[in-house]
Amino acid sequence: MMLDRIMERHRETLILLRRNRKIKAGASILAVILAIAVIGPYTTEYGPLEYTGAIGEPPSSRHPLGTNTFGYDLYSQVVYGLRSSILIGLLGGILATAIGVLIGFISGYFGGIIDELLMMLTNIFLVIPTLALLIIIAAYIEHRGILIESVIIGLTSWPWTARAVRANTLSLRNREFVYLARMSGMPTRSIILREIAPNMLSYIIMVFILQFGGAILYAVSLDFIGLGPTKGISLGVILQQAVLWNAVQLGMWWWAIPPGLLIALLLTSLYVINTGLDEVLNPRLRRQG
């Protein structure tokens, strides 16, 4: 019922979304990658950290992506790793978007001293070299899991979102229809929920996609320098081990290339979707067909 009303209201936009080539291409790649992450782990008999008996073997029918120096099956490692990398991206992205939207919105809507203080905080976070901070925090925590890693990423990557959302709120708040709503006696709560928030939804979706991709990339960087999850596997961890044990020099391309390729494909598909969304949702870039 609610969904029907939203569909009705945005029918034109939905048609454009479905027609946009970039969105189609990006979403298809993303769908395949997500399917691998969800279904993959059920299609393998080995655990990601289970000794298989075969050491450093190239791809074969038994081991589709070969095995590494420790005898782990790389197909299992990649599908489990992909799953956890995407989980980190989702959790970190949601957290960063939520904090950024909340701070940006409060700052922009209420203004005054609240705005000054929140923006001071945002600016401080913005100039802290994030990766250095991530390294320090990650190094202090002894047992790091996926949850901790995504929380650390979420807590450090919200500032640009806060600034962008604040600017967006400021411009919406001073739009004349908001003034008219106030003069029509509408309570503040429903002005925010019914007049301002719906106008920001498409923007927030795009911000989330960027944060999702950003969190995956940050997680890979952390994993790669050895500050990833202490237990378990992720795409970054596979890459880190591949480099540590000279996979490329030893000619074990099946160890290094598949996880790197997956990361690149995943981030590219997100970027392409975002560009497509921008074309459809930004009236100045909107084009037919």
């Binding site: 739009r175 004349e176 229809f177 003034y179 008219l180 709503a181 003069m183 006696g185 509408m186 007049e195």
Partner: protein, 324 residues
Amino acid sequence: MVAQALLEVRNLVKVFKSGMMGREIVAVDRVSFNIEEGEILSLLGESGSGKTTIARMILRLLKPTSGDILYKGRNIWKLKGRELIEYYRQVQGVFQDPYSSFNPIHKVDRPLLQALKNLQGIEGSEALKIIRETLRKVGLNPDEVLGKYPHQLSGGQLQRVSIARALLVNPKLLVVDEPVSMLDASTRIDVLNIFADLRDNEGVSILMIGHDISLSYYISDRIIILYKGSIMEEGETDAVLGSPLHPYTKMLIESIPRIEEKWGRKSRIRLDVDQKPTAMSGCKFLDRCPHAFNMCTRKPNLIRKDNRKIACWLYKNNYNQDIA
């Protein structure tokens, strides 16, 4: 007891600050005036003169830095809850840009229904009846606009819907901020006539903000000339525009292009916008005034002179009578 003005603006000041330690911009500088019942008062000024800021403060959308706005003798910033609803039932506004006056994601019916529901407590079929009636009053066919989204209507239609929204609650005072500046020349007079009819038939007071002297001349009873946040000249429309006294008013009137005269021949007057910060202590018009003299480094007060009020040292003690 002296008859009370409908709305009284006393020593209104608005200072905008940029950032915590940023520089201050004085948008409105000690402005006082009254709006009487059943009159159309024009507030004229160029961009940056603070006219829109004054309108927003009267509509209680922007808090003044200092000074009071009294509606029927009550300070509008002390109103709360039901009193505030009552204020908006009597004082309504229309803005300049019809396109940004409507939320692109809602049908245009929504702001109309909201105004009736929140301010009058009227809903359902009765609300719809009032809405259709009011739309007809502003020259719209209700069937053509109801149920449409803003992008499906023209600017002229939207502006009329916006005016209808303000009229739904039968306000006593209407603050209209450049209501026709974004409309075609052909529809402007129609919209202005709506306001004139409201004054004549229903005794509504109207504060009209604008920059177009000819439109103000056409419709208003009194005129206030604003420059950089201060009142330069105030009085009956015929007096101020017919025989302007203030050098700024004269300059404005000379700058109106006339249909029977070609431009080139006449000595061109300079109306360039200066970038220099004006000394806060002196007359705001000092650096553009052709008659500036040493007194002008002090701020002139708004004084009564014949049939108007004027803030200019030329008329303080009848200096330089020949210039006037």
